[in-house]
């Protein structure tokens, strides 16, 4: 009986540690997102993509900027979903 109790409490603790770790990872991801976004949107990248090329009729640079933009939105949405779920699990 006691042994089982001890076992569950250890596994609870292990779970908590895992949750903490995954939270910490999510926090790092949340910090990285704007930095990566900013980096990819620096003028040098824009200059590179300001080439005289079109994708589906739209200039390449327009597709590039809006693509990065959409990518950031999708990543943020996934992250927010993860964090909300973790939040529920924790309570």
């Amino acid at each position: 009986m006691n042994a089982t109790d001890a076992q569950t409490s250890t596994s609870d603790q292990a779970d908590r540690v895992l949750i903490q770790q995954s939270e910490r990872r999510d926090r790092s991801r949340a910090a990285a997102l704007p930095l990566i976004g900013f980096f990819l949107l620096t003028p040098l990248f824009i200059r590179v993509f300001a080439a005289d090329a079109t994708v589906l009729g739209a200039p390449l640079v327009v597709i590039y900027i809006f693509g990065i933009w959409l990518g950031l939105i999708i990543c943020a949405a996934l992250l927010a979903k993860r964090l909300k779920r973790a939040d529920h699990a924790f309570r």
Binding site: A30, L41, T42, P43, V62, L72, I73
Partner: protein, 907 residues
Amino acid sequence: MLSANVLSAICVGYVAVLFVTAYLGDRKARSGKPGWLESPLVYTFAISVYCTSWTFYGAVGSAARNGLEFVTIYLGPTLVFVGWLHLLSKLVRIARANNITSIADMISSRYGKSSAIAVVVTLISVVAATPYIALQLKAVATSFQVIVAGADPGVATAAGGVAAPPTFEAAFWVAAGMAAFTLLFGARNTDTNERHHGVVAAIALEAIVKLTALIAVGVFVVFGMADGPASIFERMPPDLLTPRDDFATRWITLILLSSVAIICLPRQFHVTVVENVDERQVATASWLFPLYLFLISIFILPIAIAGLSFLPAGADPDLFVLTLPMAADQHGLALLAFLGGFSSATSMVIVSSIALAIMISNHIVMPLMLKTPWAERAQSGDIRRMLLRSRRISIVAILMLGFLYFRLSSGSEGLASIGLIAFAGVAQAAPSMIGGVFWRMANGRGALAGLIAGFTIWAYTLFLPSFGPDVIFTASALADGPWGIGILRPYALFGLTGLDPLTHALFWSFTANILLFVSISLLADQRPLERLQGALFVDVFRMPGSNSHRYIQRSVTVTDLFVLAQRIMGPNEAQRMFAGFARQQGLDGDMPVATDAFIDHLERRLAGSIGAASARTMISQIAVGESISLAELTKVADEAAQAIEYSQQVEEKSLQLEATARELREANRLLKELDARKDDFLNQVSHELRTPMTSIRSFSEILLENADIDGPRSDRFLSIIHDESIRLTRLLDQILELSQMETGRVEWPLSAVNIDKALGRAAAVSEGIASEAGVQLALSLNAPGAVAEAEADRLVQVFVNLINNAIKYGATKGEAIEINSSFADGHYRMTIRDCGPGIPERDRERVFEKFVRGAQPETSGAGLGLPISREIIRQFSGDLVLLDGPEGAGAVFQVTLPASVRAAAAE
């Protein structure tokens, strides 16, 4: 086209819809079931008050002039929102914990509830926002005029006609309508805990209208006027997207500026932080708001291109959204576009005036009133009434100011660029705010100096010159500096040229602002309250539930507190609050005991109405003997640090434990296996010992019991006993030897041994048994010079054992046992192939185990030969293996030894 009256009626109708929405929203919130009002969607729509008419009309204008530059204004906020977890959620948490009412309140609270800082931030906000409000009024007036006139006034002027006089009337009525709306729904109560649900509902509706309108115009332009995206981009002027010379600096500047503005604009701070009802809303807004910006931006460039290609040359790009549908005779769409612009203008005006009115009444009017004798005489509810009145007057004043500004500056170009100028103005609050929530040492005096310096430089280098020559600065002062002092030129301060005015102003204002803020913070000491607030703000996530009452001790009579609370909250509210707290303290009456916790609670509650600085002033006026215990603060900070460290230690420990447990499990498994093997071994050993012992015992018993046994028989029995004893001794010797080798306790003197010679010797020894068994030994030695570090006799013993085994188990009369040796790659290899049936697949693993014998009816060995041989070879750093081969083709053993070839072969 529509007449002015019809259009006015439509506007009034639209505003009526807003009123109804706000009314319903307020009623729903009051019913206690806010429901969708508190959904993240409504919250996000409220944040989209960021998209003003400056976005709605101005972004297209910017795109037509500067290509892609307009997206920077939306990329900055996108970056801030996708990184919400670190800044936005912290601001929201702090604001909720401290009942923060505005950005000025936030900054002043952080720096020890300083009134001076609150006043400065309020002034900056008002100065920066008023022209911005004027810009919204102008946008409404101009769009009104365009719709009524049915033409672009710019085109009319360019064509030689006379521009219609600006319709100030329309702007005036818009301002008046907005004032009425804001008074009704925005200045109803004085407590931020009761948020402006009605206003938020109306703003959300407006957000939907402006997004729909812009997308509708965009879709019409792309698919109605042109034939899809490709055809639009074909019409693009070739150099529209070509980066200009100052592209790189402006691009970076604008992204940074807009990302700061999304938090520091008073209206953004208000909707994002103050109106927030649930921190989880921020998580959804982190992607939903960027998505809103994305959607609203996606058609800007196509509309700009269409305007440039379909409309006559002189058309104003800022009005393309309206003039394009009109040029295509789509009057319904033009009206929708007008309503979209109207929405974006009105929502900005409403929220800005609420946010500014709260700041003005809390941080300017209230502190002034507190200095007058009136405040002391004020009766129950008086201050609350005064506050509401001052808020209402502020709203009207702000809108009047905006209107006047619009009226006075309508001739100049001053308004067009005011959006970014306002951004740059409010951005001055960023260093002290962001520094304040992340840096404990950030100092109030540093913040104040930075704010004032940044604001002054912003005004000097950007705001005042933006009115144009001869308004504030004379033309010559603009060109050559005031009084001809060149280094004071507003657009080239200290001779810094080559930058556009915005970047130039931001560079100097931020340099001064940050430099003063940081250096004074590093040099000056913090006041106790400042240190306390700094710790509470910076560590808001780490010190949850720790309230400042632990550190501030003061005494007040509860009666004094009640009088104060009545004056600010009104008698009913005050009574309810006091009685509630008394119940919490477990008291029977309506009056709680004035503990530090209660005083702190009351101060926070009052701060939600009148701002932290004023609330503190009022409590301090009646409190005596205040002391702030920094020792306690340090203790709590230490406790927090210890708690973190402890939890990290626990985490580390549990990881260690996990690893140790894994190792233990592995060790346990090995031990069990070894134990089983030991049992096996003992079983086999006793079995092996039993056989000779049994025969020795039985023969000696026969000899003992039968004294009359004849000589030859007794001799035979004795010799059997003797043989068995020898076998027993040999067996024990072997076991001993094997166990010594296995535990690494044998050390033979190693020397260079010629392996082929040893093999030859072994073959010679076995020759006799071989010929007895009728087999031949086919010896082929191919490595005559190979020498290994070994012990010669042992090596011979191994070879003999292998050859004998081959004869014993694999002999077929008349066949040959092949023995080969070779040398390659520093290794000597000897293979021996017998001519027997080979070893079945399933037994190949087992032949090296102890006491395992080949399938042979009569056996003489103990089954230790192969294990011992292998151990010996391993002692010489080599190996003995059984090679895989087809069954029935004879077993092949191979000995490998590291060796070298010597010219003079050693013995």
